[in-house]
């Protein structure tokens, strides 16, 4: 059979059209599948609220900090330059410098405020990590793979909240009693609050929230309208740290 030039062009055009059609059908069916599966599995976004008023009830209480540190083998270095922080306190005026006036400063300025990683919705620490050692999980927890971290500290520079600490030396000698069920870290990796993801995996809440007798720390799913956390955020006025940066913190402060 002889094919003329015109026939050849016509046939190849038809072939290409068929191919494109198949691709389009695939893409469309893939899209609809993704839609249904996403709606089938409800997304989770873990969040937390610190009720500062309740937290102030007991002067000098550090139960949550101790609970976190003993759970996660957080070392205690005397030298502040080597300090490792997961959850800690800073004076109000340093945490919310814009949220005070000459007259409120007297009272509020020096009050302690709890700080930890905000588990940002769009975390800048994740964007800068050159080796994918830190990332936001599907449930909103921003986590670190200590195995993979090369200690470049880009993430520390990127985090606008100072949530991350670097191990300048072997942390083991500075841990009073080691909890065998959580790894210690090693010299040269970065660490921070992990929202107790190892406890979440067992269906438990974070150690800090559990330890607080005043119930000043409320943990829950921000995606679930009737979670305790969402109810609290509906009924009380709450702020985030530096919301103007667009990082979308999952940690709220009831002031």
């Amino acid at each position: 059979m002889k094919i003329t030039r015109k026939d050849f062009l016509r046939l190849s055009g038809l072939g290409l059209l068929a191919l494109a059609g198949r691709k389009a059908v695939r893409a469309l069916s893939g899209w609809s599948f993704a839609q249904t599966s996403a709606s089938a599995a409800k997304p989770i976004r873990w969040g937390m609220a610190f009720d500062l008023g309740k937290c102030r009830h007991k002067d000098g209480c550090n139960r949550c900090i101790q609970a976190c540190h003993s759970t996660h083998n957080v070392p205690q270095f005397a030298d502040r330059a080597h300090e490792i922080k997961w959850i800690w306190k800073e004076p109000f005026q340093n945490v919310f410098p814009a949220a005070q006036t000459d007259y409120t400063r007297d009272f509020y300025g020096s009050l302690p405020v709890l700080l930890a990683c905000n588990h940002c919705d769009d975390p800048p620490c994740q964007d800068v990590c050159p080796v994918d050692a830190t990332w936001r999980r599907d449930d909103g927890v921003v986590t670190i793979d200590f195995h993979r971290c090369i200690g470049c500290r880009y993430c520390m520079a990127a985090c606008p909240y100072g949530s991350r600490s670097f191990n300048w030396q072997d942390p083991r000698p500075a841990i009073a009693t080691v909890n065998p069920d959580f790894p210690t870290r090693t010299k040269g990796v970065v660490e921070k609050c992990n929202f107790c993801e190892e406890r979440l995996a067992k269906g438990q809440g974070p150690a800090c929230a559990e330890s607080c007798e005043e119930k000043a720390i409320v943990f829950g799913d921000l995606e679930q309208p009737d979670s305790e956390l969402r109810q609290l955020l509906r009924s009380r006025f709450a702020v985030q740290r530096k919301p103007e940066l667009g990082t979308g913190p999952s940690v709220y402060y009831i002031v």
Partner: protein
């Protein structure tokens, strides 16, 4: 031309010397294996995978465990025999079986000429060590 035997002899000597580690190891294989004295776990007879697989591929298995547990949140391992284990080197490997990493992991690594595993810089073994097997 008359140098040929010399050259061949020299080359043979050279190759023989350079390959000393290989044929020395091959000849003394049995003796060296016996001298290794790996202490097997007292409590458990079956590892999470067949011993032959573990001997050659435990590093791949551990790496899989690590990635799945840390990255995908899958912390349970279903073994070839249907048993389920936690992907937890401290609890599953050390506490249950290989209670003395120096006598197990490190002895074999030294034997094989590989650097000591650095798992235990972070994963804890102090509680098993202090439970007294030395």
């Amino acid at each position: 031309m008359s140098d040929r035997p010399l050259i061949v002899a020299g080359l043979t000597l050279f190759v023989g010397l350079v390959s000393t580690p290989i044929w020395h190891g091959a000849l003394n294989r049995e003796a060296a294996m016996a001298a290794l004295h790996i202490k097997l776990p007292a409590r458990e007879k079956q590892c999470v995978a067949p011993a032959s697989y573990m001997r050659t591929s435990h590093m791949q298995l551990l790496e899989h465990w690590r990635n799945e547990a840390v990255r995908d949140g899958q912390r349970q391992f279903v073994a070839f025999n249907g048993k389920t284990y936690d992907k937890d080197p401290t609890r599953t490997c050390l506490t249950e079986c290989h209670t003395d990493r120096k006598e197990f992991c490190e002895r074999c690594h030294n034997y094989a000429g590989v650097s000591d595993p650095n798992c235990w810089n972070c994963h804890n073994d102090s509680h098993v060590a202090s439970e007294g097997n030395s």
